[in-house]
Subunit: 458 residues, 2 copies
């Protein structure tokens, strides 16, 4: 409740406990019947055996939705499973929809509803997320908050006694605020329905999925955790491919793809131009592109002669385009624009423009320490210049993406204090995306190409 209150939820919150009194400065109602208002959602945390008895009260009060946080149901074994079945029956009779039990909660940043067991408050955004593990969900939300990835809505689906992952999927299909769907799945109750929904939803918005329990060790862990019976991994993978689900193998990949799909135009193909501030980083990125089946095409003579006019005489004349450490800040702005205009590539990866301010700041401190000739004001001004440049650069690339409809994948020199990945610019549907390492940028691009292929399929 603390998280829900402090999160700034826009609606009213009514605590209920038979003992009454006050909590967090609010009157505690002895029962839902006493509450002088209609209730949209009941959040229940009382011990498992007592929950079913609430259902007639809820019916009388007209409560239609229950978020059931309490554990002690199906996940504990045979008796718990029986208790869960009885609860579902009672809820059905009372016309109450059950989310849970055994869930970490839900959140909807668009109305500042943060009703989760842990205090995570991501920004509102377009990524909808369902996790069949509360702790995985909370982890992902916490990372999303750090990285600036906006969340449409989150739900830890718990034991899925009534509402299942298939239901959420159908909901996201029609929800206009959802642009990307992120799923952490351990087991699926109705495989046919899930994959049919996924295939339909996937044609409208990408579904990115991480499967827990893919190996013997993981399966055993999942069974003891949610009682999940998992399926054959090869069959599961084949059906995912068929349904256009973007499958990933690492938790962080979910967020990297949430950032990409929610913030960048879809690439038309796999040809990438790489712009770098230094050689080695470019070499490694070119290797990674090849590994992920991305094409790093040769530059055309026309483009080379355009760039000849911008870059020092000894520039590489090949892709990756190395800006050879030039400090002129207008250079990356102009070069990235030429690459966006170039019809020889479908996307741009740019390495090392963002995050320079972190190095410049450090350099300023060093200069002040080493040489009394420089004033703190001068250094402050230098820092401001680089900070402003980064803002200008982000605005610039967002404008270019608006115009040319190609994605730009950024890689920062260093993660900043906030570990931010996404940078918003006004109301554009596109955002600046800067990953901390080239491998994450390359993989995000490759997965976007995979999704584009699915859309192209008849």
């Amino acid at each position: 409740m603390v998280n829900t209150i402090s999160g700034g939820f826009e609606g009213e919150i009514y605590p209920v406990n038979p003992r009454g009194g006050t909590i967090a400065g609010r009157k505690v109602y002895r029962s839902v019947a006493e509450i002088p208002a209609e209730i949209d959602l009941a959040v229940v945390t009382i011990p498992a055996p007592a929950v079913a008895a609430l259902m007639p009260e809820f019916r009388k009060k007209g409560i239609r939705n229950m978020l059931l946080i309490s554990s002690g149901f199906g996940e504990t074994g045979k008796d718990g499973k029986q208790l869960e079945r009885e609860l579902v029956k009672a809820a059905r009779q009372a016309g109450v929809l059950v989310l849970g039990p055994n869930t970490m909660g839900i959140s909807n940043p668009h109305i500042q509803l943060y009703c989760t067991g842990s205090p995570v408050i991501p920004q509102p955004g377009s990524t909808a997320m369902v996790a069949q593990s509360g702790n995985m969900g909370i982890q992902l939300l916490a990372f999303a908050e750090q990285q600036g990835i906006g969340i449409r809505a989150f739900c830890g689906s718990g034991n899925e006694a009534m509402m299942t992952i298939e239901d959420y999927l159908d909901g996201f299909e029609v929800d206009s605020l959802t642009r990307t769907v992120i799923l952490y799945v351990e087991s699926i109750k109705n495989g046919r329905r899930f994959f049919e929904s996924a295939r339909r939803v996937g044609k409208k918005k990408p579904i990115v999925l991480l499967k827990g329990g893919q190996t013997k060790a993981g399966k055993r862990a999942a069974q003891s955790h949610t009682g999940a019976m998992t399926s054959d991994t090869r069959i599961f993978n084949a059906v995912c491919r068929q349904a256009g689900i973007i499958k990933v193998e690492r938790p962080m990949d979910l967020l990297d793809l949430a950032a990409a799909f929610s913030s960048l135009p879809l690439p038309a193909g796999n040809r990438v131009a790489i712009m770098t501030l230094g050689g080695g980083w470019g070499v490694v990125t070119a290797d990674l592109c090849a590994e992920f089946n991305l094409d790093v095409p040769d530059l055309t003579p026309e483009l080379i002669s355009k760039l000849d006019r911008l870059l020092p005489s000894y520039w590489s004349r090949s892709n990756p385009i190395d800006l050879v450490g030039e400090r002129d800040t207008s250079l990356p702005m102009t070069v990235v624009e030429e690459l966006m205009k170039w019809d020889g590539c479908d996307a741009v990866i740019n390495l090392g423009i963002m995050g320079r301010r972190i190095m410049v700041k450090r350099f300023g401190q060093f200069v002040l320490k080493a040489d009394s000739k420089y004033s703190a004001e001068f250094i402050d001004q230098l820092n401001r210049q680089f900070l402003e440049f980064e803002e200008t650069y982000i605005q610039h690339i967002v404008k270019l993406m608006d115009r040319y409809r190609k994605p730009i994948f950024g890689v920062s020199i260093l993660p900043d204090e906030k570990n931010q990945t996404l940078y918003r610019v006004g109301d554009s549907p596109f955002k600046g995306v800067f990953y901390p390492t080239p491998e994450r940028a390359v993989q995000a691009y490759a997965k976007m190409v995979e999704y584009q292929h699915f859309l192209d399929r008849p």
Copy 2:
């Protein structure tokens, strides 16, 4: 020079420029001859064509070592290659050892020598690093600094006109401060010598290597960057395996392995016990272990009955061991100790103990906002408790590693403000290692097992 001065180098620094005057408050000498002291290292940044002419002066002054930062040599083409050959000849005649040219510099944190083009100041430590790309080297150093990974010495080897990567390798073999060697390689001049050295050094200390230019796209990039002629990737990989070199495919893997090898005891085998604060994270980690050929063994009845006395009745009784969100801070301390004592595992992965303070801090802010009953002092105390707990926990696991000689791989709930990976405790050779994601912990463990296998080979 600014970086070297501000880095706090313990020796003397003498600026030299024919025009004289002062710089950064120091007298500028018109030539090396004027300097009233013996010189250990000349750092040269003058234009390429003028460098060879310095050699007789250096000889007269008794300067034996030159760090040649200047570019404009072999990397620029045929003329540059000729210039480089002439320089090497002149240097040989004058008895001057050349490091470079075209390098980002060197650093030795043990004497606070930070002589690099960018202001990165990692802590002193036991990881020696050579990069055949200055910008890759600087990136890695900057990440190492953020993550708290200590550096024995760094060198951007540049064009390797005289000193080559094989020479550095031989040096690290006999250097008692070096425990781990990290290499970023684009090309090797003398393959036979390199692999013979590597095999010899590798028996004493692990060598971790990232190869740039492994694909057609990457090779082309490497050629335009350092003029490197790269070799066949399959042959290269086979020889690496033969020589016991730990090959990685992502830049960040270099640092993750530097952290592991420099801070943890080598595991005797691949059997891992996983201790987690939540189900899903444990499931995913078990999957990752299987993917990397690590074994997640069943718990023995003896261990289960020991843990029965510590954990709530409904605990999973299987590996991963889920502490089911219990808030009692002594619990992870006791459980991790039982796992270290258990002869059924060779290593422990622990998920989610570290970083709880970040969540607790947020929770405290929420409580204060929601409920005036709580005082700021109470919340401060709570924060202090969790901060102290993490310190105690790190001390505890380091002591356990000292005693039982098994590695403990930690995974934080969230990266902290500093993105730290390594936590030092007194003078122990071991340290607390906490990665931000399970995949990085699992991969580090798998690579340590690979190295142990190499050592076991006759």
